[in-house]
Protein backbone atom coordinates (compact mmCIF):
# COMPACT_ATOMS: atom_id res chain seq x y z
CA UNK A 1 0.00 0.00 0.00
CA UNK A 2 1.49 3.34 -1.05
CA UNK A 3 0.62 6.87 -0.02
CA UNK A 4 0.73 9.64 -2.62
CA UNK A 5 0.23 13.29 -1.68
CA UNK A 6 -0.68 16.41 -3.58
CA UNK A 7 -0.42 19.74 -1.80
CA UNK A 8 -2.48 22.74 -2.85
CA UNK A 9 -1.34 25.84 -1.00
CA UNK A 10 -3.88 28.39 0.18
CA UNK A 11 -5.65 29.87 3.16
CA UNK A 12 -8.37 27.27 3.56
CA UNK A 13 -10.61 26.27 6.44
CA UNK A 14 -12.03 23.04 5.06
CA UNK A 15 -11.97 21.01 1.87
CA UNK A 16 -13.98 18.17 0.39
CA UNK A 17 -14.02 16.09 -2.76
CA UNK A 18 -17.38 15.99 -4.48
CA UNK A 19 -18.56 15.09 -7.98
CA UNK A 20 -15.22 15.64 -9.68
CA UNK A 21 -14.39 18.78 -7.75
CA UNK A 22 -12.16 19.76 -4.90
CA UNK A 23 -14.33 22.17 -2.93
CA UNK A 24 -12.21 24.34 -0.68
CA UNK A 25 -13.68 26.82 1.78
CA UNK A 26 -11.41 29.84 2.01
CA UNK A 27 -10.71 31.86 5.11
CA UNK A 28 -12.60 34.80 3.59
CA UNK A 29 -15.81 32.75 3.26
CA UNK A 30 -15.68 31.84 -0.39
CA UNK A 31 -16.04 28.39 -1.87
CA UNK A 32 -13.31 27.63 -4.37
CA UNK A 33 -13.97 24.91 -6.94
CA UNK A 34 -11.06 23.03 -8.47
CA UNK A 35 -11.81 20.52 -11.22
CA UNK A 36 -9.72 17.47 -10.41
CA UNK A 37 -9.22 15.95 -13.85
CA UNK A 38 -8.06 19.21 -15.50
CA UNK A 39 -5.78 19.65 -12.49
CA UNK A 40 -4.13 16.25 -12.88
CA UNK A 41 -3.93 16.68 -16.65
CA UNK A 42 -2.07 19.94 -16.15
CA UNK A 43 0.27 18.22 -13.72
CA UNK A 44 0.94 15.51 -16.30
CA UNK A 45 2.36 18.20 -18.57
CA UNK A 46 4.66 19.39 -15.87
CA UNK A 47 5.58 15.94 -14.53
CA UNK A 48 5.54 13.61 -17.56
CA UNK A 49 7.09 10.75 -15.59
CA UNK A 50 3.85 10.52 -13.62
CA UNK A 51 1.57 10.96 -16.62
CA UNK A 52 -1.58 8.97 -15.97
CA UNK A 53 -0.62 8.09 -12.41
CA UNK A 54 -1.77 11.43 -11.04
CA UNK A 55 -5.21 11.04 -12.56
CA UNK A 56 -5.43 7.47 -11.31
CA UNK A 57 -4.41 8.48 -7.82
CA UNK A 58 -6.21 11.77 -7.28
CA UNK A 59 -9.03 12.15 -9.80
CA UNK A 60 -10.17 8.63 -10.68
CA UNK A 61 -8.97 6.48 -7.82
CA UNK A 62 -12.00 4.25 -8.46
CA UNK A 63 -10.42 3.07 -11.73
CA UNK A 64 -7.77 1.24 -9.67
CA UNK A 65 -10.30 -1.34 -8.55
CA UNK A 66 -11.92 -2.06 -11.91
CA UNK A 67 -11.54 -5.37 -13.71
CA UNK A 68 -10.19 -3.47 -16.73
CA UNK A 69 -7.36 -2.08 -14.62
CA UNK A 70 -6.63 -5.46 -13.07
CA UNK A 71 -6.45 -6.93 -16.55
CA UNK A 72 -3.88 -4.31 -17.53
CA UNK A 73 -1.93 -4.97 -14.32
CA UNK A 74 -1.59 -8.63 -15.30
CA UNK A 75 0.84 -7.37 -17.93
CA UNK A 76 4.22 -7.26 -16.14
CA UNK A 77 5.60 -4.44 -18.27
CA UNK A 78 2.59 -2.25 -17.48
CA UNK A 79 2.61 -3.15 -13.79
CA UNK A 80 6.36 -2.60 -13.43
CA UNK A 81 6.15 0.76 -15.15
CA UNK A 82 3.33 1.95 -12.92
CA UNK A 83 5.02 0.72 -9.75
CA UNK A 84 8.27 2.42 -10.77
CA UNK A 85 6.40 5.67 -11.13
CA UNK A 86 4.96 5.25 -7.65
CA UNK A 87 8.38 4.35 -6.23
CA UNK A 88 9.81 7.58 -7.56
CA UNK A 89 6.94 9.73 -6.32
CA UNK A 90 8.27 12.18 -3.71
CA UNK A 91 7.51 11.06 -0.17
CA UNK A 92 6.46 14.60 0.78
CA UNK A 93 4.20 14.76 -2.27
CA UNK A 94 3.93 17.21 -5.13
CA UNK A 95 3.02 20.83 -4.62
CA UNK A 96 0.62 22.44 -7.04
CA UNK A 97 1.86 25.92 -7.84
CA UNK A 98 -0.88 26.85 -10.29
CA UNK A 99 -4.42 25.54 -10.23
CA UNK A 100 -6.03 25.57 -13.69
CA UNK A 101 -9.67 26.56 -14.11
CA UNK A 102 -10.26 27.30 -10.44
CA UNK A 103 -13.58 29.02 -9.91
CA UNK A 104 -15.65 30.27 -7.07
CA UNK A 105 -19.22 29.23 -6.44
CA UNK A 106 -21.25 32.32 -7.34
CA UNK A 107 -23.99 33.29 -4.95
CA UNK A 108 -22.42 31.45 -2.05
CA UNK A 109 -22.61 33.40 1.16
CA UNK A 110 -23.09 32.10 4.65
CA UNK A 111 -23.98 33.99 7.79
CA UNK A 112 -21.41 33.90 10.54
CA UNK A 113 -17.72 34.41 11.11
CA UNK A 114 -16.75 30.93 12.21
CA UNK A 115 -17.02 28.00 9.81
CA UNK A 116 -17.54 25.06 12.14
CA UNK A 117 -18.55 22.16 9.93
CA UNK A 118 -19.45 21.32 6.33
CA UNK A 119 -21.33 18.36 4.94
CA UNK A 120 -22.36 17.27 1.46
CA UNK A 121 -25.29 14.93 1.07
CA UNK A 122 -27.35 14.19 -2.03
CA UNK A 123 -26.12 17.34 -3.81
CA UNK A 124 -27.06 19.51 -0.86
CA UNK A 125 -24.41 21.35 1.07
CA UNK A 126 -24.92 21.82 4.81
CA UNK A 127 -22.88 24.30 6.81
CA UNK A 128 -22.63 24.93 10.53
CA UNK A 129 -21.39 28.25 11.83
CA UNK A 130 -21.57 30.09 15.11
CA UNK A 131 -24.67 31.82 13.71
CA UNK A 132 -26.63 28.71 12.83
CA UNK A 133 -27.14 25.72 10.58
CA UNK A 134 -27.62 26.33 6.85
CA UNK A 135 -28.22 24.37 3.70
CA UNK A 136 -27.55 25.14 0.05
CA UNK A 137 -29.02 23.35 -2.94
CA UNK A 138 -26.37 23.52 -5.63
CA UNK A 139 -26.35 22.50 -9.26
CA UNK A 140 -22.77 21.29 -9.40
CA UNK A 141 -22.78 21.05 -13.19
CA UNK A 142 -23.71 24.67 -13.80
CA UNK A 143 -22.16 25.67 -10.48
CA UNK A 144 -25.13 27.66 -9.26
CA UNK A 145 -26.76 27.90 -5.85
CA UNK A 146 -30.45 27.37 -6.52
CA UNK A 147 -31.63 27.80 -2.94
CA UNK A 148 -30.18 28.51 0.48
CA UNK A 149 -31.89 28.33 3.85
CA UNK A 150 -31.14 28.94 7.47
CA UNK A 151 -32.35 25.88 9.30
CA UNK A 152 -31.38 26.70 12.89
CA UNK A 153 -30.25 29.76 14.83
CA UNK A 154 -28.13 27.79 17.28
CA UNK A 155 -24.35 27.51 17.02
CA UNK A 156 -23.89 24.30 15.06
CA UNK A 157 -20.56 22.63 15.70
CA UNK A 158 -21.08 19.42 13.75
CA UNK A 159 -23.45 17.70 11.32
CA UNK A 160 -24.03 14.21 9.96
CA UNK A 161 -26.38 12.81 7.33
CA UNK A 162 -27.57 9.46 6.04
CA UNK A 163 -30.84 7.68 5.27
CA UNK A 164 -32.46 10.91 4.12
CA UNK A 165 -31.92 12.53 7.52
CA UNK A 166 -29.54 15.24 8.68
CA UNK A 167 -28.41 15.84 12.26
CA UNK A 168 -27.18 19.15 13.59
CA UNK A 169 -25.19 19.09 16.84
CA UNK A 170 -25.51 22.35 18.70
CA UNK A 171 -23.71 21.64 22.00
CA UNK A 172 -25.75 22.91 24.97
CA UNK A 173 -28.45 23.96 22.53
CA UNK A 174 -29.05 20.29 21.76
CA UNK A 175 -29.33 17.94 18.80
CA UNK A 176 -31.78 18.52 15.96
CA UNK A 177 -32.73 16.26 13.06
CA UNK A 178 -34.36 16.84 9.71
CA UNK A 179 -36.10 13.73 8.36
CA UNK A 180 -36.88 12.95 4.75
CA UNK A 181 -34.82 15.95 3.74
CA UNK A 182 -35.37 15.40 0.04
CA UNK A 183 -39.02 14.44 0.02
CA UNK A 184 -38.31 10.85 -0.99
CA UNK A 185 -41.21 9.65 1.15
CA UNK A 186 -43.62 12.50 1.57
CA UNK A 187 -42.88 14.88 -1.30
CA UNK A 188 -41.89 17.58 1.14
CA UNK A 189 -38.45 18.99 1.65
CA UNK A 190 -38.40 18.52 5.41
CA UNK A 191 -37.61 22.12 6.16
CA UNK A 192 -38.44 21.76 9.85
CA UNK A 193 -35.75 20.31 12.09
CA UNK A 194 -36.97 18.47 15.18
CA UNK A 195 -35.42 18.28 18.60
CA UNK A 196 -33.78 14.88 19.02
CA UNK A 197 -31.69 14.92 22.19
CA UNK A 198 -30.10 17.17 24.75
CA UNK A 199 -26.51 18.32 24.43
CA UNK A 200 -24.58 17.16 21.41
CA UNK A 201 -21.00 17.68 20.29
CA UNK A 202 -21.15 15.29 17.34
CA UNK A 203 -23.10 12.33 16.04
CA UNK A 204 -22.24 9.25 14.00
CA UNK A 205 -24.46 6.62 12.44
CA UNK A 206 -24.30 3.07 13.75
CA UNK A 207 -26.04 1.34 10.88
CA UNK A 208 -29.50 2.96 10.96
CA UNK A 209 -29.16 4.15 14.56
CA UNK A 210 -27.41 7.28 15.73
CA UNK A 211 -24.75 7.66 18.40
CA UNK A 212 -24.87 11.08 20.06
CA UNK A 213 -21.70 12.24 21.80
CA UNK A 214 -22.09 14.87 24.48
CA UNK A 215 -18.40 14.75 25.38
CA UNK A 216 -15.23 13.19 24.03
CA UNK A 217 -16.05 9.89 25.69
CA UNK A 218 -19.73 9.78 26.66
CA UNK A 219 -22.46 8.85 24.23
CA UNK A 220 -26.04 7.68 24.01
CA UNK A 221 -27.79 5.56 21.37
CA UNK A 222 -30.80 6.76 19.43
CA UNK A 223 -32.78 4.06 17.72
CA UNK A 224 -33.69 4.83 14.12
CA UNK A 225 -37.12 3.85 12.85
CA UNK A 226 -36.79 3.07 9.17
CA UNK A 227 -38.97 2.69 6.14
CA UNK A 228 -38.17 1.74 2.57
CA UNK A 229 -39.39 3.97 -0.22
CA UNK A 230 -39.05 4.05 -3.98
CA UNK A 231 -37.51 7.42 -4.64
CA UNK A 232 -36.40 9.24 -7.74
CA UNK A 233 -33.29 11.29 -7.41
CA UNK A 234 -31.12 12.74 -10.16
CA UNK A 235 -33.30 11.08 -12.77
CA UNK A 236 -32.78 7.58 -11.35
CA UNK A 237 -35.32 5.61 -9.38
CA UNK A 238 -34.18 3.33 -6.60
CA UNK A 239 -35.35 1.90 -3.32
CA UNK A 240 -34.03 3.87 -0.39
CA UNK A 241 -34.03 3.26 3.31
CA UNK A 242 -35.14 6.30 5.26
CA UNK A 243 -34.80 6.99 8.96
CA UNK A 244 -38.09 8.60 9.92
CA UNK A 245 -37.64 8.92 13.67
CA UNK A 246 -34.89 8.75 16.26
CA UNK A 247 -35.68 7.89 19.86
CA UNK A 248 -33.54 7.06 22.85
CA UNK A 249 -32.66 3.37 23.11
CA UNK A 250 -29.72 3.57 25.51
CA UNK A 251 -29.20 6.65 27.66
CA UNK A 252 -25.55 5.76 27.90
CA UNK A 253 -23.13 3.54 26.04
CA UNK A 254 -20.72 3.61 28.96
CA UNK A 255 -21.30 -0.12 29.42
CA UNK A 256 -19.12 -0.68 26.35
CA UNK A 257 -16.30 1.21 28.00
CA UNK A 258 -16.86 -0.65 31.25
CA UNK A 259 -16.55 -3.91 29.35
CA UNK A 260 -13.32 -2.69 27.80
CA UNK A 261 -12.03 -1.55 31.18
CA UNK A 262 -12.78 -4.92 32.73
CA UNK A 263 -11.19 -6.94 29.98
CA UNK A 264 -8.08 -4.81 29.74
CA UNK A 265 -7.84 -3.82 33.43
CA UNK A 266 -8.17 -0.15 32.58
CA UNK A 267 -9.13 2.65 34.90
CA UNK A 268 -12.16 4.48 33.50
CA UNK A 269 -10.29 7.79 33.54
CA UNK A 270 -7.85 6.27 31.05
CA UNK A 271 -10.42 6.69 28.27
CA UNK A 272 -9.42 9.66 26.13
CA UNK A 273 -11.63 9.42 23.03
CA UNK A 274 -14.57 7.41 21.74
CA UNK A 275 -15.89 7.46 18.19
CA UNK A 276 -17.68 5.08 15.90
CA UNK A 277 -18.18 4.03 12.32
CA UNK A 278 -21.25 2.24 11.04
CA UNK A 279 -20.07 -1.06 12.50
CA UNK A 280 -17.52 -0.45 15.25
CA UNK A 281 -16.49 1.81 18.10
CA UNK A 282 -12.99 3.22 18.39
CA UNK A 283 -11.55 3.94 21.81
CA UNK A 284 -8.26 5.63 22.59
CA UNK A 285 -6.72 5.72 26.04
CA UNK A 286 -4.19 8.11 27.49
CA UNK A 287 -1.55 5.49 28.17
CA UNK A 288 -2.96 2.05 27.46
CA UNK A 289 -3.42 1.96 23.70
CA UNK A 290 -6.09 2.10 21.04
CA UNK A 291 -8.99 -0.36 20.79
CA UNK A 292 -11.91 -1.24 18.60
CA UNK A 293 -15.14 -2.53 20.05
CA UNK A 294 -17.61 -4.44 17.92
CA UNK A 295 -20.95 -4.60 19.63
CA UNK A 296 -23.07 -7.53 18.45
CA UNK A 297 -26.53 -6.39 19.41
CA UNK A 298 -29.56 -8.48 20.13
CA UNK A 299 -33.19 -7.91 21.05
CA UNK A 300 -32.31 -9.83 24.18
CA UNK A 301 -29.59 -7.80 25.89
CA UNK A 302 -28.38 -10.92 27.72
CA UNK A 303 -27.37 -12.37 24.37
CA UNK A 304 -25.36 -9.37 23.27
CA UNK A 305 -21.64 -9.80 22.71
CA UNK A 306 -18.74 -7.40 22.64
CA UNK A 307 -15.52 -8.04 20.72
CA UNK A 308 -12.51 -5.99 21.77
CA UNK A 309 -9.37 -5.71 19.66
CA UNK A 310 -6.24 -3.81 20.59
CA UNK A 311 -4.22 -1.91 17.98
CA UNK A 312 -0.67 -0.75 18.56
CA UNK A 313 0.84 2.35 17.07
CA UNK A 314 -1.41 5.23 18.11
CA UNK A 315 0.49 7.72 20.17
CA UNK A 316 -0.96 10.98 21.36
CA UNK A 317 -4.44 12.29 21.80
CA UNK A 318 -6.97 11.17 19.22
CA UNK A 319 -9.02 14.01 17.74
CA UNK A 320 -11.13 12.09 15.24
CA UNK A 321 -11.54 8.71 13.57
CA UNK A 322 -12.78 8.29 9.99
CA UNK A 323 -13.74 5.41 7.78
CA UNK A 324 -12.23 5.05 4.32
CA UNK A 325 -12.10 2.41 1.63
CA UNK A 326 -8.58 1.50 2.70
CA UNK A 327 -9.14 1.24 6.44
CA UNK A 328 -9.59 3.46 9.46
CA UNK A 329 -7.99 6.91 9.49
CA UNK A 330 -7.00 8.06 12.96
CA UNK A 331 -6.25 11.75 13.48
CA UNK A 332 -4.27 12.73 16.52
CA UNK A 333 -3.26 16.22 17.62
CA UNK A 334 -0.16 16.16 15.44
CA UNK A 335 -0.48 13.33 12.91
CA UNK A 336 -2.74 11.12 10.80
CA UNK A 337 -2.40 7.35 10.41
CA UNK A 338 -4.15 4.66 8.44
CA UNK A 339 -4.99 1.38 10.15
CA UNK A 340 -5.31 -1.32 7.57
CA UNK A 341 -5.03 -5.10 7.86
CA UNK A 342 -3.13 -4.90 11.12
CA UNK A 343 -0.69 -2.24 9.93
CA UNK A 344 -0.39 1.35 11.08
CA UNK A 345 0.69 3.50 8.13
CA UNK A 346 1.68 7.15 8.65
CA UNK A 347 -0.22 9.51 6.37
CA UNK A 348 0.68 12.96 7.63
CA UNK A 349 3.18 14.24 10.14
CA UNK A 350 1.71 17.52 11.29
CA UNK A 351 -1.40 19.15 12.65
CA UNK A 352 -4.59 19.02 10.60
CA UNK A 353 -7.28 21.68 10.84
CA UNK A 354 -9.74 19.20 9.33
CA UNK A 355 -9.67 15.66 8.01
CA UNK A 356 -12.24 14.54 5.46
CA UNK A 357 -12.74 11.05 4.07
CA UNK A 358 -15.35 9.83 1.62
CA UNK A 359 -16.13 6.20 2.37
CA UNK A 360 -19.53 6.31 0.65
CA UNK A 361 -18.18 7.92 -2.49
CA UNK A 362 -17.54 5.98 -5.68
CA UNK A 363 -14.47 7.92 -6.77
CA UNK A 364 -12.93 9.01 -3.52
CA UNK A 365 -13.17 6.06 -1.16
CA UNK A 366 -9.36 5.86 -1.02
CA UNK A 367 -8.58 9.57 -0.95
CA UNK A 368 -8.66 12.00 1.92
CA UNK A 369 -8.57 15.78 1.99
CA UNK A 370 -6.63 17.20 4.91
CA UNK A 371 -6.74 20.94 5.49
CA UNK A 372 -3.66 22.30 7.21
CA UNK A 373 -2.62 25.81 8.15
CA UNK A 374 -1.18 26.67 4.73
CA UNK A 375 -3.15 24.53 2.31
CA UNK A 376 -4.84 21.25 1.53
CA UNK A 377 -3.30 17.84 1.13
CA UNK A 378 -4.99 15.31 -1.10
CA UNK A 379 -3.73 11.98 0.15
CA UNK A 380 -4.33 8.98 -2.10
CA UNK A 381 -3.99 5.45 -0.82
CA UNK A 382 -2.90 3.23 -3.68
CA UNK A 383 -2.76 -0.53 -3.34
CA UNK A 384 -1.27 -2.23 -6.40
Amino acid sequence: MRILKLFIPGDFEDARLYMGHLLAFTADRRLRIVELEPLTHALHERYPMWRGLLTLAFARNDWLVTSQFHTLMSNDAFADSLRAGIDHFPADGLEVDAVPNAEELPGFSVEGDVLLDTLFYASRMYIGTEAGFFDFDVDWQSKQVSRSRKRLDARCVSASAEFGAVNASCEEEDLFTGYDEFGWSTATDGSQLRHTANHSLRTAWLRTDLVNYDSLTHSSLLKGRTEKVDATYGGASRTRKLVTELSVERESLDFLLEELSQRKSLESDQIQFVGNSSGAFFVNTFERGFFTIIWLRSEDQAKERVIVTEYPGVTGRVVSVHGSGAGVIVETDFSCHLFSEGSCIPLLDGEALNVRTFPSSKRYRNIMAVTVEDGVYLIAIVDL
Binding site: L115, E171, E351
Partner: protein, 141 residues
Protein backbone atom coordinates in the same frame (compact mmCIF):
# COMPACT_ATOMS: atom_id res chain seq x y z
CA UNK B 1 5.37 40.43 30.32
CA UNK B 2 6.01 39.08 33.81
CA UNK B 3 7.87 41.50 36.05
CA UNK B 4 8.66 38.93 38.69
CA UNK B 5 9.90 35.62 37.37
CA UNK B 6 10.76 34.22 40.78
CA UNK B 7 7.96 32.88 42.90
CA UNK B 8 7.68 32.38 46.61
CA UNK B 9 6.09 29.36 48.22
CA UNK B 10 2.78 29.91 49.95
CA UNK B 11 0.25 27.56 51.55
CA UNK B 12 -1.63 26.95 48.28
CA UNK B 13 1.13 27.26 45.74
CA UNK B 14 3.93 29.35 44.33
CA UNK B 15 3.09 33.04 44.40
CA UNK B 16 4.16 35.50 41.70
CA UNK B 17 3.75 39.19 41.11
CA UNK B 18 2.31 41.66 41.20
CA UNK B 19 2.71 41.96 37.44
CA UNK B 20 2.54 45.09 35.32
CA UNK B 21 -1.18 45.48 35.87
CA UNK B 22 -0.89 44.80 39.59
CA UNK B 23 -2.21 41.24 39.56
CA UNK B 24 -0.86 38.56 41.88
CA UNK B 25 -0.76 34.98 40.66
CA UNK B 26 -0.56 31.61 42.41
CA UNK B 27 0.59 28.45 40.70
CA UNK B 28 -1.63 26.10 42.68
CA UNK B 29 -0.27 22.89 44.16
CA UNK B 30 -3.60 21.16 43.42
CA UNK B 31 -2.86 21.50 39.71
CA UNK B 32 0.66 20.19 40.17
CA UNK B 33 0.14 16.77 41.68
CA UNK B 34 -1.80 17.85 44.74
CA UNK B 35 -5.16 16.64 43.47
CA UNK B 36 -5.19 14.14 40.60
CA UNK B 37 -8.90 14.79 40.03
CA UNK B 38 -8.03 18.27 38.80
CA UNK B 39 -6.28 19.01 35.53
CA UNK B 40 -2.52 19.05 35.88
CA UNK B 41 0.16 21.23 34.35
CA UNK B 42 2.93 19.40 32.54
CA UNK B 43 6.15 19.27 34.56
CA UNK B 44 7.90 20.94 31.62
CA UNK B 45 5.57 23.92 32.04
CA UNK B 46 7.17 25.34 35.15
CA UNK B 47 5.30 27.58 37.58
CA UNK B 48 7.25 30.48 36.13
CA UNK B 49 6.09 29.59 32.60
CA UNK B 50 2.54 29.21 33.90
CA UNK B 51 2.80 32.72 35.33
CA UNK B 52 4.15 34.00 32.02
CA UNK B 53 1.18 32.47 30.18
CA UNK B 54 -1.10 34.30 32.61
CA UNK B 55 0.76 37.58 32.26
CA UNK B 56 0.56 37.40 28.48
CA UNK B 57 -3.18 36.76 28.67
CA UNK B 58 -3.47 39.72 31.03
CA UNK B 59 -1.35 42.11 28.99
CA UNK B 60 -3.15 41.13 25.75
CA UNK B 61 -6.51 41.36 27.52
CA UNK B 62 -7.47 37.83 26.45
CA UNK B 63 -10.59 37.98 28.58
CA UNK B 64 -14.05 36.60 27.95
CA UNK B 65 -17.37 38.25 28.77
CA UNK B 66 -17.36 36.55 32.19
CA UNK B 67 -13.91 38.07 32.86
CA UNK B 68 -11.99 34.80 32.80
CA UNK B 69 -8.61 35.01 31.10
CA UNK B 70 -7.45 32.43 28.55
CA UNK B 71 -3.92 31.66 27.47
CA UNK B 72 -1.71 29.57 25.23
CA UNK B 73 1.94 28.67 25.52
CA UNK B 74 2.79 29.69 21.96
CA UNK B 75 1.27 30.17 18.52
CA UNK B 76 1.08 26.41 18.00
CA UNK B 77 -0.81 26.07 21.27
CA UNK B 78 1.72 23.52 22.48
CA UNK B 79 0.63 21.20 25.23
CA UNK B 80 0.20 22.63 28.69
CA UNK B 81 -1.48 19.78 30.52
CA UNK B 82 -0.69 16.17 31.29
CA UNK B 83 -3.72 15.05 29.29
CA UNK B 84 -2.86 16.96 26.19
CA UNK B 85 -4.66 20.16 27.16
CA UNK B 86 -3.42 23.04 25.01
CA UNK B 87 -5.22 26.01 26.53
CA UNK B 88 -5.13 27.56 29.96
CA UNK B 89 -8.05 29.10 31.76
CA UNK B 90 -7.53 31.67 34.49
CA UNK B 91 -10.65 31.94 36.57
CA UNK B 92 -12.31 35.26 37.09
CA UNK B 93 -11.51 36.85 40.42
CA UNK B 94 -14.43 38.16 42.44
CA UNK B 95 -12.07 40.25 44.54
CA UNK B 96 -9.86 42.57 42.54
CA UNK B 97 -6.86 42.17 44.84
CA UNK B 98 -7.07 38.40 45.32
CA UNK B 99 -4.51 36.14 43.71
CA UNK B 100 -5.34 34.69 40.30
CA UNK B 101 -4.90 31.06 39.39
CA UNK B 102 -5.40 28.86 36.36
CA UNK B 103 -5.25 25.38 34.94
CA UNK B 104 -5.02 23.54 31.60
CA UNK B 105 -8.28 22.92 29.72
CA UNK B 106 -9.43 21.14 26.60
CA UNK B 107 -12.42 22.49 24.60
CA UNK B 108 -12.81 18.98 23.15
CA UNK B 109 -14.01 17.83 26.55
CA UNK B 110 -17.46 19.09 25.65
CA UNK B 111 -17.71 21.30 28.70
CA UNK B 112 -18.70 24.85 27.84
CA UNK B 113 -16.60 26.06 30.73
CA UNK B 114 -13.48 24.70 29.06
CA UNK B 115 -13.93 26.69 25.87
CA UNK B 116 -13.09 30.32 25.19
CA UNK B 117 -15.74 32.37 23.42
CA UNK B 118 -15.64 32.57 19.62
CA UNK B 119 -15.02 36.30 19.65
CA UNK B 120 -11.89 35.89 21.76
CA UNK B 121 -10.54 33.13 19.53
CA UNK B 122 -11.33 35.29 16.49
CA UNK B 123 -9.12 37.98 17.97
CA UNK B 124 -6.34 35.39 18.36
CA UNK B 125 -6.76 34.36 14.73
CA UNK B 126 -6.79 37.94 13.46
CA UNK B 127 -3.68 38.83 15.42
CA UNK B 128 -1.89 35.62 14.44
CA UNK B 129 -1.55 34.72 18.10
CA UNK B 130 -2.76 31.15 17.55
CA UNK B 131 -2.43 29.09 14.38
CA UNK B 132 -5.12 26.61 15.32
CA UNK B 133 -7.92 28.97 16.29
CA UNK B 134 -10.51 27.19 14.15
CA UNK B 135 -9.66 23.89 15.83
CA UNK B 136 -10.40 25.50 19.16
CA UNK B 137 -13.74 26.81 17.91
CA UNK B 138 -14.57 23.42 16.46
CA UNK B 139 -13.84 21.74 19.82
CA UNK B 140 -11.06 19.72 18.25
CA UNK B 141 -8.31 20.65 20.72
Amino acid sequence: MANSATGTAGPDGICFGPNGSGKVYVSMFVHRGGNPRKSQWLASVTPTTEYEVFCRADSQDWRDSAHNYWGVLDAEASSLGTRGERLAKFLRNEVETAAWHGYPVSPASGSAGDTPEDVLVESWISAGSVAVGRKIQRRRI
